[in-house]
Amino acid sequence: MLKIAFPHLGYCAIPLRAMLARLGHEVVVPPPISRKTIDLGTRYGPEFACYPLKLGLGNFIEALEMGADTLLMGGGIGPCRFGYYAQVQKEILASLGYKFRMIVIEPPLGHARQVLAAARELKGKESWLALAEAAWLALFKLRACDDIHRACLYWRPRVVDKTGLSRLYKKALAAVDRAETPGAVREARAAALAAMEKLPQNAVVPPRVALVGEVYLLAEPAANLYIEEKLGNMGIEVVRHVWISEWLKVNIFLDFLRLRRREQAEKLARPHLSCFVGGHGQHSVGETVKAARDGLDGVVHVYPFTCTPEIVARGIMHKIAAKHGLPLACFSLDEHSGEAGFVTRLEAFADIIRANRSKKEAVRHG
């Protein structure tokens, strides 16, 4: 039995915990990302490394302090930095004197042997069938969490009682976390969606903005300074196309089966950024084009400070946005990003969106 821990990525702790607990491990879920996590990651992480590496490092330190002896981490093959995170984190943790093992899960295409070895280690004494079952349950939970989150994004600008919605959302995730079978997960999901729909709503049709950028920052609210919640509370609907479950499907399963096809965002990006540039750079460009085409009211771009693919994307996105008269706000975030300045910029952006909206409406009615 391993005492196993992993870094946070939004609500991904829910499916991961379910899977590892199913396999009989003791799961050490690190405490939610706090100022302390950020400080630990910044103190011991490389100064100019990207923010996700530092936060993950902070998670690991906190988990090791709680007694974890095995760390689970993702790998990669470049061209972006993520593929080398695990090795750098491992060296740093070892130099701090921690004793642990690290299991790195590489992308299965081209690393079949490593993935198999990692899977064997994770499954322990259980059968392969049990592993498949545990993974299936985890996927089910992930999908349910994504659905609940998506619904929450939709309802937040519309409902009157925003704190009530937050409470419901938390409760729904907790219910998914507790569920033991796919059936129970399905029920929890359905109950949550129904409850959100029943909350009292105001009559206005909210403006819609696309939230694009680097996947870790999109999925981890503590890293993006709760941008989705803030925009929603300002009465703006956030539309997001990058979801962890989708990402897994496209980049792990389909890629492994060599069935990966170009996604829509990638196709739309091609006239402006014609090749993959690592991370989600091409997606960000593609989704800006899509936002313009679908008549959304704006685009918000979030990424970690110095994130290479998103910087390549950013210049190009500015051009596209300017051409279509689409408001675009870019936030490059890291441990130094202050709450105050962030909120001010977000409010200014929201004002522009609302002003544009009323102008458009005036044209339509006048």
């Binding site: 490389p46 100064e47 100019f48 490394a49 990207c50 790998g75 093959i77 470049g78 061209p79 972006c80 930095r81 593929g83 080398y84 695990a86 090795q87 750098v88 491992k90 060296e91 740093i92 130099s95 790195v104 402006h272 950024l273 014609s274 090749c275 993959f276 540039v277 690592g278 991370g279 750079g281 400070f305 110095t306 994130c307 290479t308 693919p309 910087i311 390549v312 994307a313 950013r314 210049g315 190009i316 500015h318 051009k319 490059s332």
Partner: protein, 302 residues
């Protein structure tokens, strides 16, 4: 046809190959003059703040070439020069970034360069990206370029065989050989009487030997060379001191420095990291380099 060739990024390492390719296809290479203040300022104006210094410098060169009398501009999309090893994402997006900031002023020649492809595929890609190539001539020039490339990969002479302490200066070729951005680092070192070794002074085998010390193979060609050379210095005592030159805002550098620092902390060879950015002042850098060399010389005495 006059084709603009920016004196930036990989130009510093591959100009023999590039010039050969240009001439044998009947293009006249118009190489931009070395980096200067004006180019850097133009580059800064054209780029987002967070872009790394070398790409800003590149944009400055592109701008200055655009003002000259040229028929096209050569900005390749360099994906990979070795199997399963890449360059950073900025190299992948470079032609798009240039097109975005330059508009359609000048036609770009931007073939995708991926040497893990077969030569036939590379040949096709060249024809596709540039319709002014003559197929037969292009094929011949490609073959001779490959020969030059291979010869080019062999270790060269130390930059300044001064006979004093051996200092390995490791980093991107465009930081090491661009005198403007590194404030004449190699000259300063030569004046201090040290023997300067760069990545090019290590043979393939030496770099391979060093890189074997990595827990997972690095997927960046440049980074692997630097780490390989640094580890080789550690293992074989091939240098008395190592200077790492990084650019501010560089993705790969941020991790490579960490990997090398972690390893050097356990050994006795001094290591200094210089981070170049557009605000750095030359006096500070020169002083630091002098102090480093002094320290190397004193180590023998005490």
């Amino acid at each position: 046809m006059r084709v603009g060739l920016p004196r930036a990024l990989l130009y510093f390492k591959y100009y023999p190959v590039l010039e050969q390719l240009f001439r044998s296809n009947g293009w006249e290479p118009v190489v931009s003059t070395p980096t200067n203040k004006r180019k850097l300022e133009q580059g800064l104006a054209l780029c987002e703040d967070e872009v790394c210094l070398p790409v800003k410098v590149m944009m400055g060169h592109v701008r200055s070439l655009a003002e000259q009398d040229i028929d096209a501009l050569f900005v390749p999309r360099v994906v990979s020069l070795e199997r399963k090893r890449y360059f950073c994402p900025k190299f992948l997006g470079l032609p798009d970034m240039v097109r975005c900031s330059l508009g359609n002023e000048i036609p770009l020649i931007s073939p995708t360069v991926n040497l893990s492809w077969s030569r036939l595929k590379i040949w096709q890609e060249g024809l596709k990206s540039c319709n002014c190539l003559k197929p037969w001539r292009w094929w011949l020039s490609l073959n001779s370029a490959a020969r030059i490339h291979r010869r080019h990969l062999q270790a060269g002479e130390p930059v300044s065989p001064g006979g004093g302490k051996r200092v390995a200066v490791l980093g991107h070729c465009y930081n090491i050989y661009d005198e403007y951005v590194n404030f004449g680092l190699l000259n300063t070192l030569a004046q201090l009487g040290v023997t300067v070794l760069t990545v090019e002074n290590f043979t393939r085998e030496q770099i391979e030997e060093g890189a074997r010390g990595l827990s997972k193979d690095l997927f960046w060609s440049y980074g692997r060379d630097v780490v390989g050379a640094a580890f080789y210095c550690l293992a074989r005592g091939a240098a008395d001191g190592v200077i790492l030159v990084a650019s501010f805002g560089c993705g790969p550098d941020s991790l490579i420095i960490e990997i090398i620092q972690q390893r050097f902390a356990r050994f006795d060879i001094p290591l200094m990291c210089l981070t170049l950015d557009e605000h750095a002042a030359d006096t500070g850098l020169v002083t630091r380099v002098e102090a480093f060399v002094d320290m190397l010389n004193w180590r023998d005495v005490c």
